[in-house]
């Protein structure tokens, strides 16, 4: 039932005033129809409310920003340890950061799909922080780095088997 043109912050223009419960007798008060000018932001369209508990929708889908894939560090099951095989990748990243102090790097931690969304968010954060720590030990400044997490919310592989899980237990290094 949503208007597809509806953009951010659309307030309901009007609503029909509540009818209350009464004991069997018909509540035959005339309907009070309140009409206000629509309060909108952006390109919103407002229509007439038809419920007593209106819900106004916010649409973020027209608003572009997504991050590009960067270099990826994979982790073992239930592990938050950065494996030796990624040392050269991290060294070159640290070198780039040391050479250009204005450069910033975001490390996005990810998990496989098993378990709760919030706990996985924290586990992904732990992976991102492990990579951040490695980079600082290799000379990058803490202020150039931010560890964040997508938990299990943005899998690289949407499969439900161990092969997919292995691709999802990762940290992505993204220049911002």
């Amino acid at each position: 039932m949503m208007n597809s043109k509806l953009a951010a912050l659309v307030a309901i223009a009007s609503l029909f005033v509540a009818g209350c419960a009464s004991d069997v007798k018909l509540d035959d008060k005339a309907a009070t129809v309140e009409t206000r000018n629509p309060v909108t932001a952006g390109t919103g369209n407002a229509g007439k409310g038809v419920t007593d508990s209106p819900v106004a929708s916010v649409d973020l889908t027209k608003d572009g920003a997504t991050s590009a894939a960067g270099r990826v560090v994979y982790f073992d099951y239930d592990s938050y340890v950065v494996k030796d095989e990624y040392r050269s990748v991290l060294e070159s990243q640290a070198k780039t950061l040391t050479a250009n102090k204005a450069k910033k790097l975001v490390i996005e931690g990810h998990t496989d799909e098993r378990g709760g969304s919030e706990y996985n968010l924290a586990l992904g954060q732990k992976r991102a922080q492990a990579v951040l720590k490695s980079l600082t030990l290799l000379g990058a400044a803490d202020a150039q780095l931010e560890a964040v997490s997508f938990g299990k919310e943005r899998p690289a592989d949407t499969g439900h088997d161990e092969a997919a899980y292995a691709k999802n237990r990762r940290a992505e290094l993204v220049s911002r």
């Binding site: 018909l26 309907a31 038809v50 106004a56 996005e108």
Partner: protein, 424 residues
């Protein structure tokens, strides 16, 4: 939602078939011991309105485990003088009759009368006049009237729930009726939205959105206006909002000092104060009903377990003991029960523990991918997300685990359910 009355009428006409069908999606998979048989014939004129009122009422009453619907093809309104012997022969203990009328201004008048068939007694009637878009709400209010008349407890059918649907890359946080129907979009994003949390007055909803800063940030949004504000957007991830019972502050998980730790911030995100203090993961905090303590998840002992700490901080005591992976605590409104997700042998299931001691924690389901349990505001049902036929679905269960219902089956995956408070 944002449609004029004429459009509504047109949509309503189209909606008749679909909505009637929707009611048959309620799946009672268990049998409780003490269900009261109730006959709910079609309400007079209900076939002329957009939703099958008697079926909505029946599904509500069956879902809560106290009632069992008796099949009937009859039509009965609230002014009838039903022959109790006839209904007794059909094994009904209770009988509900009613009518639905569209008023000149577009609103609906839903009336109902309840009879005690066994005692041949009129148990009273109610009339609910509802806005044009709230016909289902009218049916839920009748279900509450029946539930309250029989049990003496407050009903929860007219409350609201929230959940996130995912279809392709599109994530939508929706607010819906307690049966999962009539979902309306609060916010849509091409990036994840998780962890919705209702303010205690039901007017705002906090959630984690990844879109704006391409990382986890806690927002709060006023449902009726769409006005939203950032609650926590510190360095790192910001997540797991939970409102204090007075609505004046929220517990959140922040990583600004390194590890994921629990903080309390004001209702606009002001004055963050760290509550937990460990080098481990501390997250998913919820307030106890008295507002004095937090239950939260920590892996300080190895695997994730549930702990309790005073909101002032200090010593945390472990609350969950069985199993090596216990997450997502929810506490019943009376503070007695703890629902949570436990992993046992690779299966994630809803467990229930009695915090006053007594019976040990037990699994309420036999499914394997349960998530996000939350209590109905009267404490009589737990809603949770699960997986069925390769889809993420919403379920409810009674606290004895005997009566389960599947809510909304859309083509989208449904996750992160949370039950709203009384009032709307």
């Amino acid at each position: 939602m944002l449609i004029n009355r004429r459009t509504f009428t047109a949509l309503a006409a189209i909606g008749v078939g679909g909505s009637a069908h929707a009611q048959f999606r309620v799946e009672i998979s268990g049998v409780g011991a003490t269900q009261i048989p109730i006959a709910i014939p079609k309400f007079r004129d209900e076939t002329k309105v957009p939703h099958p009122v008697s079926e909505i009422i029946r599904a509500d009453l069956e879902r809560i485990g106290v009632f069992r619907g008796i099949d009937t093809v009859a039509i009965l309104d609230e002014t009838a003088r039903p022959d109790m012997a006839e209904w007794k022969a059909k094994t009904a203990d209770l009988l509900l009759g009613g009518s639905v009328m569209r008023l000149a201004d577009g609103r609906f008048d839903v009336r109902a009368k309840l009879w005690d068939v066994v005692r041949n007694k009129d148990l009273g009637g109610q009339s609910f006049v509802v806005a044009p878009g709230d016909l289902r709400q009218g049916a839920h209010r009748v279900a509450d009237f029946v539930y309250e008349t029989i049990t003496g407890e407050k009903g929860i059918f007219a409350t609201r729930i929230a959940y996130v649907t995912k279809s392709g890359r599109s994530h939508s946080l929706r607010v819906a009726d307690s049966d999962g129907e009539n979902g309306q979009v609060v916010i849509t994003s091409m990036d994840p939205i998780i962890s919705p949390a209702w303010s205690p007055n039901g007017q705002e909803i906090a959630y984690v959105s990844f879109h704006e800063r391409q990382k986890a940030v806690v927002w709060a949004q006023t449902i009726s206006t769409g006005a939203r504000r950032e609650i926590a957007a510190f360095r790192g991830s910001n997540s797991a909002p939970a409102w204090a019972p007075d609505g004046q502050s929220l517990a959140v998980t922040l990583t600004r000092d390194g590890a994921s730790q629990v903080y309390i911030v004001g209702r606009n995100g002001e004055s963050p104060r760290r509550v937990t203090n460990s080098a481990s993961i501390d997250t998913e905090a919820v307030f106890t009903p008295d507002g004095k303590s937090l239950l939260f998840v920590s892996d300080r002992g190895g695997g994730p377990q549930i702990y309790r700490t005073p909101v002032s901080g200090g010593g945390a005591e472990r609350v969950s003991f069985t199993g090596g992976y216990n997450i997502s605590p929810a506490i019943s409104p009376d503070g007695r029960y703890l629902a949570y997700i436990s992993r046992q042998g690779g299966a994630f299931r809803v467990y229930l523990a009695d915090l006053t001691g007594g019976t040990p924690a037990r699994a309420l389901t036999d499914s394997s991918d349960d998530e996000s349990p939350s209590f109905a505001p009267n404490g009589r049902l737990i809603m949770y997300a699960s997986r069925a036929q390769g889809r993420d679905v919403l379920m409810t269960t009674t606290l004895d685990g005997k009566v389960k219902s599947k809510l909304v089956s859309t083509t989208a995956d449904v996750r992160e359910p949370v039950w709203g408070p009384f009032g709307r």
